[in-house]
Subunit: 384 residues, 2 copies
């Protein structure tokens, strides 16, 4: 199997590392934050703006894209890149997590998951093979296996059963990937990542990380984190899983996007993460600053002629005051969501640049400590 | 009084004409369509995109801006240009029309209009003088007098009373404009336009047009049209009012934005018009094409890999298919509203270019006839 990850530098004082992912639509510096474009658009953003910021790897969502526009439409365009006119890399999740959180009814059985669409109640089945096929149709540069996520509080027996099924499905995904050329005349276009699970049990986390690491995957995701557990549990099980995973492949933690969780992940040697938080919060008028999250609707912004964040290069910070941004949100203007989304993605892109630089200079730990001290000086909220 | 309008060319076969408006923030070719940016933003559009299309005169709304963000905030920025970072021209309406359509309660008396905010029910008064002052605070390049609009069906006595008050208020607006330097230390920054009314009575329309034309205004608006009357009535009273207005000043018809009404206005020698329709329809997925209005959500777009409109230079038409645009609206994505708004404003900008060119070449009438025949071939709807 081809290796897609090249280590650039390991911080000499810890596990944090920089590297490069070599993907079909270009190279990606890691650690990387990936914006989420669920339905083939990063919400309230021109694709051009996302690219101009510097992002070259964004997410799409298999569950959403399968339901709408559907694989028949995507096939006409030979996938999501042409359909959405995004010439850079796309990672798609397997849809398993969305089935759990969005679909009306779902039932896991040996062969896959039955569920009803959250849009129209229509009935569907996702099997490991089908999920590979859908992502082949999408043309994902990084595709994910179908997995089963075990939330905190689920007993060990059930968690183990879900883990074992996740492992069996991982093998089935690999088999489908490897037989596509023969069975369809076209080899798999992307890089299939395995997902390790194991819930909130140390031995299962280690077992799953090792099992998935040994399989024929070019990259590994750590699933089932940031699903309702405490921050202490998150930190503990992240460290357990990250340590047990192979370090030769890129490691991806799914669904994290707050600065503290990103720093925690990087500290554990994680290379990739994604989250809807940056754009969702933006649409509600909450933006990142070095001094914590800023709620633009708050009254103290009313006559503030300064930018959201000094030195930020986004359109909001170079063209508009906090007073104008507050006005946009008070007036319910879409432009507020557009500008705040651009700001948050610009902020996180630059945040990752700062993280990578600190690793290259072997000072990630001090960067993290200084950043956290300032960001959380007011409990994580920017208050003036 | 300074003249702001220079006639370039009068179509030798009719009343349609081209010209140039000389305004504080640059020249504007006429006939001109002006996008509406009610609250200091053209909805779902980057200001940069609005400027890149070519627009150099947009609307703001006195009523909305007065209520939110308020003149105290606007004063901090010395007006809307800096507050909204729009370096080109801004026209503001007087707020009279919005008081009628939006505010909870309103009462007209000799001195002005009392009303309650549609946002929080707070009580306010607009007088002719106050409306001039607010627009001075906004820094409008073109400001409008406070007027009273008479809808069809209002009896002649009431219409005449409203007209007479509109004329008296016009004089008061002029007086306030001319005393600003002495009373506030700063001369009026913009160009105050008078508004003629007269409802749906020929003699009153003519009387009002002549009265307002003789006053010391650099431009004239024809108000009280497109307020519920039939298209035949609109055409008739537009022609009556336009003919009775001075032809030496720019003439502006408020609130029209469909292609047939724009063509009708141009045919009558009108130089300026505005409407929210282009951006409002866009947010609901309806876009302009030469073959009529296209509802992007309709099923026939599902697998259409072609653009909204061949040859259009907007982001939607150069980057995305109708299938993608439909997907955006079916999925409720803001990006759909952004792209469709950009398309509609690009379309109307180019539509005005075509109109101006046809006038320069003395073939406006044939342009209008050919355009209308194609646009209305299917009742004004693009069906494939």
């Amino acid at each position: 199997m081809e290796r897609i990850f090249t280590l650039k530098h390991q911080d000499r004082n810890g596990k944090a590392r920089t590297g490069v992912l070599s993907l079909p639509h270009g190279e990606v510096d890691t650690p990387v934050f990936m914006p989420v474009g669920t339905a083939g658009t990063v919400k309230a953003m021109y694709h051009k703006t996302v690219a101009d910021i510097g992002y070259n790897l964004i997410l799409g969502n298999t569950y959403h894209l399968y339901l709408r526009p559907g694989t028949d439409v995507l096939s006409l365009f030979d996938g999501l890149h042409a359909f959405s006119n995004w010439g850079r890399n796309i990672l798609t999740d397997s849809g398993g997590f969305q089935i759990f959180s969005l679909s009306k009814l779902r039932k896991i059985y040996e062969d896959g998951i039955k569920f009803q669409s959250h849009i129209d109640g229509s009935r569907h089945v996702f099997t490991p093979e089908k999920v590979v096929d859908i992502q082949q149709c999408i043309g994902s540069d990084i595709a994910m296996c179908l997995d089963i996520c075990s939330a905190p509080g689920i007993d060990k027996k059930k968690t183990m059963k879900a883990m074992d099924l996740t492992h069996a499905w991982a093998e089935r995904c690999i088999n489908r990937r490897d037989s596509l050329l023969e069975e369809t005349g076209r080899a798999f276009r992307g890089n299939l990542f395995g997902i390790c699970q194991g819930g909130f049990y140390e031995d299962l986390r280690i077992q799953s990380a090792k099992t998935i690491s040994q399989m024929d995957f070019p990259g590994i995701a750590i699933g089932g984190l940031s699903v309702g557990e405490s921050k202490e549990e998150f930190k503990h099980f992240l460290a357990v899983a990250a340590d047990a995973c192979t370090h030769e492949k890129p490691r991806y933690v799914m669904g994290i996007g707050t600065v503290d969780y990103i720093l925690e992940a990087v500290e554990n040697g994680i290379d990739m993460f994604d989250c809807v938080l940056a754009t969702r919060e933006a649409r509600h008028g909450t933006v990142f600053t070095d001094d914590g999250m800023l709620n633009l609707s708050r009254a103290f912004n009313e006559k503030n002629s300064g930018p959201i964040s000094e030195g930020c290069t986004c359109t909001a910070c170079t063209h508009y005051s906090r007073a104008y941004m507050r006005h946009m949100f008070k007036a319910g203007e879409i432009y507020g969501a557009m500008l705040a989304s651009e700001h948050n993605l610009t902020y996180l892109y630059n945040f990752m640049l700062r993280i990578r630089q600190s690793i290259e200079e072997d000072r990630f730990e001090s960067f993290k400590n200084e950043y956290m001290a300032r960001f959380y000086a007011n409990g994580g909220l920017c208050k003036n």
